[in-house]
């Protein structure tokens, strides 16, 4: 229950960090908040030869507007995401989702970007980055690149990140004023890993839903969008019959895992219940938005 030994590098800049990762020859690991990595190191599930600490790199701890998108630096803690006024105003669905993220003490340390890099299929940040068309900015000794969130996630706890690459920031959509949203999560204990969660955003114009987005977590190997269900609801009035049809189609499309906490059938059923609530909430909030 103690980490295996490793070399420690306190990075002074992103360049310094990726040089240290490159020098580690594929066996280096980046630590930001450490709220997922440290437990894995304590259990010796992860045994990096070099640990690169990015916590003291200046300039990575800001939430800021860039055009009509919001950028979160690699050291933006969950507490900052949860209390940031820009996010509360422009991405209320993310503001709300933060209430479900772990506990006060973990939120003090854990980071948005770190959670995305950890890529737990039952964590909120990976799903939110998909829902909000996230762009992941990456640096390495070879230069910079940007990956769309949907290309970043490769599997459970697996991303497209190379061993010598560092995520410096993630850019996400803001939502136009009046956008309806819904967020529903079920966990056995508050703040614990979710059995399933669903996030939905949409606009409503002339009585129909537009730009419908549905994000799901906990029901597959990766966080996911539901493009087929999004398309079913697009430019339609969301009434009870359409909702029934959409939930049936959603359940049919899912292949969740069974584990100690819940069977695949239970998760499939749960995802449908949560999706029904989240879609209904988003539709109702979009109506208020349209009226205002």
């Amino acid at each position: 229950m103690k980490p295996a030994s490793f070399d420690y590098v306190r990075a002074e800049s992103a360049e310094h960090a990726v040089q240290a990762l490159a020098a580690a020859g594929g066996d280096g690991k980046v630590i930001a908040g450490g709220q997922s990595l440290m437990p894995m190191m304590n259990f010796r599930l992860v045994k990096p030869s070099v640990l690169v600490d990015i916590n003291r790199i200046p300039g990575l701890d800001a939430v800021q507007m860039r055009g009509d998108r919001i950028v979160l630096g690699a050291l933006v803690r969950h507490r900052m995401t949860a209390t940031d006024m820009l996010i509360q105003k422009h991405i209320p669905v993310l503001h709300h989702a933060m209430k479900h993220v772990a506990h006060l003490t973990v939120r003090n340390r854990g980071t948005f970007c770190g959670s995305v890099c950890h890529a737990d299929p039952a964590a909120e940040m990976p799903m939110m980055s998909l829902l909000l068309n996230g762009a992941v900015h990456i640096v390495s000794p070879r230069g910079e690149r940007t990956l769309a969130a949907q290309d970043f996630f490769v599997g459970s706890l697996v991303t497209a990140l190379e061993p010598d690459e560092l995520v410096t920031e993630i850019e996400i959509d803001t939502l136009p004023a009046g956008t309806g949203w819904g967020f529903e999560e079920f966990a056995r204990r508050h703040g614990d890993y979710a059995l399933a969660a669903v996030a939905v955003t949409m606009q409503r114009r002339d009585g129909v839903a537009l730009d419908v987005r549905i994000g799901l977590m906990g029901v597959g190997e990766m966080p996911m969008r539901a493009p087929q269900i999004e398309a079913m609801l697009e430019v339609r009035e969301i009434d009870a019959a359409l909702l029934d049809e959409a939930i049936d189609a959603l359940r049919a499309s899912l292949e969740p895992n069974s584990d100690l906490n819940a069977s695949a059938d239970y998760r499939r059923h749960l995802a449908g219940v949560l999706a029904r609530r989240a879609i209904s909430d988003a539709w109702a909030r979009a109506e208020k938005g349209a009226a205002a």
């Binding site: 229950m1 103690k2 980490p3 295996a4 030994s5 490793f6 070399d7 420690y8 306190r10 630590i31 450490g34 709220q35 440290m38 437990p39 304590n42 259990f43 030869s49 640990l51 600490d53 916590n55 507490r79 772990a102 506990h103 006060l104 003490t105 973990v106 003090n108 340390r109 204990r189 508050h190 703040g191």
Partner: protein, 160 residues
Amino acid sequence: MSERTEIAVSVNGLSYTRTVEPRMLLADFLRHELGLTGTHVGCEHGVCGACTVLLDGRSARSCLTLAVQADGADIETVEGQGTVEKLGRIQQAFRDHHGLQCGFCTPGFIMTIADMLRHHSLDSDEEIREALSGNICRCTGYEHIVNAVRELAKERGALK
């Protein structure tokens, strides 16, 4: 490899300099290097909250923090809250409300509550319970702990 590194920290207002292995957890550093055994180690993977300390004024799991990461930091532990002769305010509230039974989880709760009282509005029982939810009490004395925090929050008044 894994070169030992010199670190300097302030713990409860006192300065310490020690040389540590990078893999040493802050919890073990406090207990074994500094002899401050008030910080308890329960699960060692960030679930139970027993090892909670304040790192630059905010609560942190000392089992998920490396001692080298705390270099230069201002750390507060339960030893800084009071003494047996003169209990700190949070400790006194725990005594008054029977907020502990076996006491193993208590140092972690006390430090989490120190963060809560400094930074969180604690307007409702719901908020108090949510803020406490990262700390586990095996004796399940939660009701009394919530009572203690409610009194402390009332006494403090609105957050400035």
